[in-house]
């Protein structure tokens, strides 16, 4: 099995997932190097992202949070290194990606429904089956939206929900989310967090979220990947053990608050380093 070809990471962070390599790694990043206009962003970077878990990425501005998921999802090419998904290459893997800027990520010439179905069309799913699958996803997520509308006629939150559904409809093995709620107002952000949490519990898909909001990053995550200033290293990768579904009470939970301030300390240490 190709999976065995991935060498284990030496050092403390692999064990952060728990004893005996549980949960197993889904995405393995080895020897990742990326320079951007002479700036070294990643230098021999190694990372395991656990399968079926929600990982958040948090770190100082410009440390390469979004760059990391863009490299993993193939949106930008790597200079060096290997990234595998359970031993498979990117082209053998179904991934979903949700952009920060939903306005520029959805296709305004298609209705919301067709936007979602387009992802299946690209996977060569015949149209009747594609329609059926979109309908199934809609009822499974309990989404109450008029999907015959065009994206520009919808609110920001609705558009981002359509974006997420477009990414989910192909039943991706991994879902990447690049600051998906940062263009939404606070009320909508809170609502969308709950939606995303529900979707995660519902699908159990491996999710990787880039966030600039520490509370959001910890609240949604099973594991919080804290990055240093560039060239980025893993500053910490703590487990968030709070039970799901999480709610407002979780935010006030002592364990949660402690973990959050632990992350904040690491973050500040890295910022001022």
């Amino acid at each position: 099995m190709a999976m065995n070809a991935v060498s284990p990471i030496v050092g403390p962070y692999r064990t952060a997932f728990g004893p005996d390599g549980d949960p197993p790694a889904h995405i393995t990043v080895r020897g990742l190097c990326k320079e951007f206009q002479g700036d070294v962003i990643y230098q021999d970077f190694n990372l395991d992202i656990p399968r079926g878990k929600f990982s958040s990425i948090f770190g100082p501005n410009g440390c390469g949070k979004s760059t990391l998921i863009n490299l993993i999802s193939g949106l930008i090419p790597l200079d060096r290194g290997t990234i595998l998904f359970g031993g498979k290459t990117l082209s053998e893997t179904r991934i979903g990606y949700v952009f920060q800027n939903y306005r520029e990520a959805l296709f305004p010439w298609m209705s919301a429904f067709d936007n979602i179905r387009y992802a299946l069309k690209l996977r060569k799913v015949p149209e009747p089956e594609a329609t059926e699958r979109v309908n199934r996803l809609v009822s499974r997520l309990g989404v109450k939206l008029d999907l015959t509308r065009y994206p520009y006629g919808m609110s920001g939150g609705q558009q981002q929900l359509v974006s997420i559904m477009r990414a989910l409809v192909v039943e991706p093995e991994v879902l990447f989310l690049d600051e998906p709620f940062s263009a939404l107002d606070y009320e909508m952000t809170l609502f969308m967090r709950e939606q995303l949490q529900k979707i995660f519990e519902e699908t159990g898909t491996t999710m990787v979220l880039v966030s600039h909001d520490l509370e959001e990053a910890v609240y949604l995550a099973d594991y919080v990947l804290l990055l240093s200033r560039r060239p980025a290293r893993i500053a910490d990768f703590p487990h968030v053990p709070m039970a799901r579904p999480r709610n407002d009470l979780t935010l006030a939970d002592t364990g949660f608050v402690e973990l959050k301030s632990h992350c904040l300390r690491i973050f500040q240490r890295e910022v001022h380093r």
Binding site: G74, F107, A119, L122, Y150
Partner: protein, 254 residues
Amino acid sequence: MTTLSRFDRYLPLVGVVGMIVVWYIGYWMRIVDPVLLPSPDATFAALWKGMTGGRLLYDFTQTVIRTFTAIAVASAIAIPLGIVLGSSERLYRSVEFVIDFFRSTPASAMFPLFLVIFGVGNATKIYVASFGAALVILFNVAYGVMNARKTRILAARVMGASRWQVMKDVVLMESLPQTFVGLRNGVSLALVIVVVAEMFIGSVDGLGFRVFEAQQLFDMPDMYAAIFAAGALGYGLNILFLLIEKSFVHWSGK
């Protein structure tokens, strides 16, 4: 946008009525020689008579046919070419100067050259108008393709779209609003060139010819009527292309 009140909707009429009032005053007070400025009613009577079965209608139709033929020829060449040039920024940059140069050259200055090449027939007028319009369309299509939102292209690519699918499903659609801007500017320019060309030697019909002939015959009501007909045509073409644009690219500007 503020909602207009019931009366505000009629605000555009103020300018029209104002213009006619000033015109009447000028006419009655003999500010302008009545030979040069006929009364509004004489002008509109000539316009009405000409457009309802008169010669003006025929000339109007000829100009419309030429303008549409010109824009069709221009689109057939410029849209595919614009897509090809726009899909490679380096390719476009290498021909940009030539396009910009000829786009800035008044197409009317090319008319004598076209006369030499194509002769004094109908085709010359159409080709010179096509030439002007094609460069405007080409420029807009190429920019529409080049300025396709990167995020949308990435979104399609991350969903597994091939280069061809990205081109066909995303970039082409992305360039449509700009393409329509080009078509709208192109048709205005084509009309200008057609009307100018119709004033040249060898013309026997068209609005330009009508204006020119009425002027030669000192038939001022007819000349003004032809000018108004040309104005109405230009305005109408713009509205027509705006309507097509609205129904084709409903997402434009949203």
